[in-house]
């Protein structure tokens, strides 16, 4: 629970931030805005992944699978009818004859992803540790195969293209705010404390009356919901989705972002997603050939990935729990007195 003062600060910060976004949106180039949007989408994905993997300790590698579900559902639903007839002529008629607005398609995409999470989670969440990781990775691959094979709905390997680029800075950052708010509410409630308890010691948690299955499922489904929404936003940013868009590399990327920032913290998710989106883009600048004293060094493609990997290892060496660990951002640094606030606040 936030104190009055904290609510005020948060509100002011939000207004300043949104104003800043508005200014940037009008001044920055499309390329830079694209990066800002990608940062936002990654924040949505990583913060929701942190709810499952970090707060609840259910180490899932299936996040890209939920992204895929959300992206495809939303793509099929939001595609204009004229295009749908052209691109997806084999759709079942009820699906081929509806066109929903973008917001609704995002929500439905998220809900379907959450439904898949429920289906797969119910049997699989009784596993733990690496067994669970492999099972969720399996889910991702099954989804990929299904998308590839059910070509009358998904166009198979060809993917669905020509999506309208609905995704803009307001959609993305609006969803970022909703995601962070929702995860923050959950974490600071009995549900979130139950998840934390399960992460710390599932047996003790169960012996204190916490229903393991329902808490894990909740974390998994909420994570999947936002992954689905994030995937849908991504699809409508890139304007084309295909099975290869959501492979194990994407899951691994998200896990890397989450661990680098700090798994057990919303702040960590935000920082990890931001850094790991910007840094590779900046490193691109190293991949141009240079000419020094008449000697030309050809561009070394792959260099940026190598540097990134090295940096990643260094970060983990010095901060194995990520840059911020379990720490959450708060306004206490603005306070002069040293005593910590009365209640257990995480934000």
């Amino acid at each position: 629970m936030l104190s009055r003062r904290d609510k005020l600060y948060t509100g002011i910060a939000l207004i300043i931030f949104l104003g800043l976004l508005g200014i940037l949106n009008n001044t920055l180039s499309g390329y830079h805005m694209r990066l800002i949007n990608l940062i936002g989408i990654n924040i949505i994905l990583v913060v929701s992944l942190n709810l499952t993997n970090g707060f609840c300790g259910v180490f899932s590698l299936g996040h890209a699978g939920f992204m895929a579900v959300g992206a495809y559902v939303s793509a099929i639903l939001a595609l204009p009818l004229t295009k749908k007839a052209l691109v997806l002529p084999e759709l079942p008629t009820w699906l081929g004859s509806i066109e929903v607005n973008f917001l609704l398609s995002l929500i439905i995409g998220g809900l379907v992803a959450a439904f898949f999470a429920l289906l797969i989670g119910y049997p699989v969440l009784r596993l733990s540790g690496h067994y669970l990781a492999v099972a969720t990775l399996g889910f991702l691959i099954i989804i990929q195969v299904l998308i590839t094979q059910l070509s009358h709905i998904t166009r198979g390997a060809r993917g669905i293209n020509g999506l309208i680029s609905y995704t803009n800075v307001w959609w993305v950052w609006g969803t970022v705010i909703v995601t962070i708010y929702a995860v923050w509410r959950i974490v600071n409630s009995s549900y979130g404390r139950g998840m934390l308890a399960i992460r710390e010691d599932d047996l003790a948690a169960e012996s204190l009356g916490i229903n393991l299955t329902s808490h894990k499922l909740l974390a998994f489904c909420v994570g999947a919901f936002f992954a689905g929404v994030g995937g849908a936003l991504w699809g409508h940013l890139i304007t084309v989705v295909n099975p290869l868009s959501f492979d194990s590399n994407r899951t691994f990327n998200l896990v890397v972002m989450s661990v680098v920032g700090g798994m057990g913290s919303i702040t960590g998710g935000v920082i990890g997603a931001t850094l790991m989106t910007i840094v590779p883009e900046l490193l691109r600048n190293l991949e141009v050939g240079i000419t020094i004293f008449g000697m030309s060094i050809p561009p070394l493609y792959g260099l940026s990935q190598i540097i990134l990997a090295g940096a990643l290892i260094l970060v983990i060496f010095f901060r194995p729990h990520g840059l911020v660990g379990n720490w959450e951002f708060n306004w206490n640094f603005l306070k002069k007195s040293k005593n910590i606030s009365k209640t257990t606040q995480n934000l």
Partner: protein, 264 residues
């Protein structure tokens, strides 16, 4: 004995048995526990005491037998359901949520009775805020009761051993149990701390109207605290009776007590 007879039986255990791959860990364990009693469960290491607790709390379902709590059958229930029905416990090797604060540890236990739903969590509704505040107040009360309120902001893993033990008891109490199972609460404590603990448990029993089962190796604690004792050996009940009776039981002295009373 007369006072005991008057009270109604809160926990009744009939012949529970636990086999692990053919090995019989607990064989035909019986217990009739009247309300408000403190019963001690003693016996050498590996006698099956903790297994009895694990069966009572649902961690291992018993292979055979029946467990009745306040008149209803809870045999084979999941641990979280059993706590909700009213059996709470502590663990032999402390199992706190070590990265969470002391207060959070207790709030997690207290929230067993929370009523608000998922939607009011997301909306941060009035009922949510009210209940959350109540939970925190309640948790603070339990911390006060065990005299560890001053540590509430600290992470559980940073506490001294004795305080961790107390926190575990506070946490179990916060589930508002009918029956409290304490698994070696005095282990690792010095004599003065043990005596303090004894007083605390007696006080809690009266304050919260508890019924207690206690596993303990410290004979001073057991003999002073318990109204009745059960001695377990090789998974079987070797003897049962008042501390006085047990102290003089030949079988018990041979199997177990002889050594420890001699050394005590």
């Amino acid at each position: 004995m007369d006072t005991v007879k008057k009270n109604k039986i809160v926990l009744s255990v009939e012949g529970i048995t636990k086999k692990f791959k053919g090995l019989v860990a607990v064989d035909n364990y019986n217990l009739q526990l009247p309300e408000g009693e403190i019963i001690g469960l003693i016996g050498p290491n590996g006698a099956g005491k903790t297994t009895v607790f694990n069966m009572l709390t649902g961690i291992f379902p018993p292979t055979e037998g029946k467990i009745m709590l306040a008149g209803s059958d809870i045999t084979g229930f999941r641990p979280d359901h059993i706590v909700q029905r009213g059996i709470a416990r502590t663990f032999q090797n402390i199992r706190l949520f070590s990265n969470l604060s002391v207060l959070e540890n207790v709030v997690i236990a207290a929230q067993i009775r929370k009523k608000y739903g998922f939607i009011s969590t997301l909306c941060s509704s009035a009922s949510f805020t009210k209940e959350e505040n109540e939970l925190i107040t309640k948790a603070e009360e339990y911390l006060e009761a065990l005299g560890i309120a001053e540590y509430k902001e600290q992470k559980a893993k940073n506490l001294a051993y004795g305080i961790q033990r107390k926190l575990e008891i506070a946490r179990a109490l916060a589930t508002n149990p009918l029956v409290l199972l304490l698994d070696e609460p005095a282990a690792g404590m010095n004599p003065q701390e043990s005596i303090d603990l004894m007083h605390t448990i007696r006080k809690l029993k009266d304050e919260f109207n508890l019924t207690v089962i206690l596993i303990e190796h410290d004979m001073k604690v057991v003999m002073n605290l318990c109204e009745r004792l059960q001695v377990l050996s090789y998974g079987k009940i070797l003897a049962e009776g008042t501390p006085e009776e047990i102290r003089n039981n030949k079988l018990v002295i041979d199997a177990y007590l002889g050594r420890s009373t001699a050394s005590a």
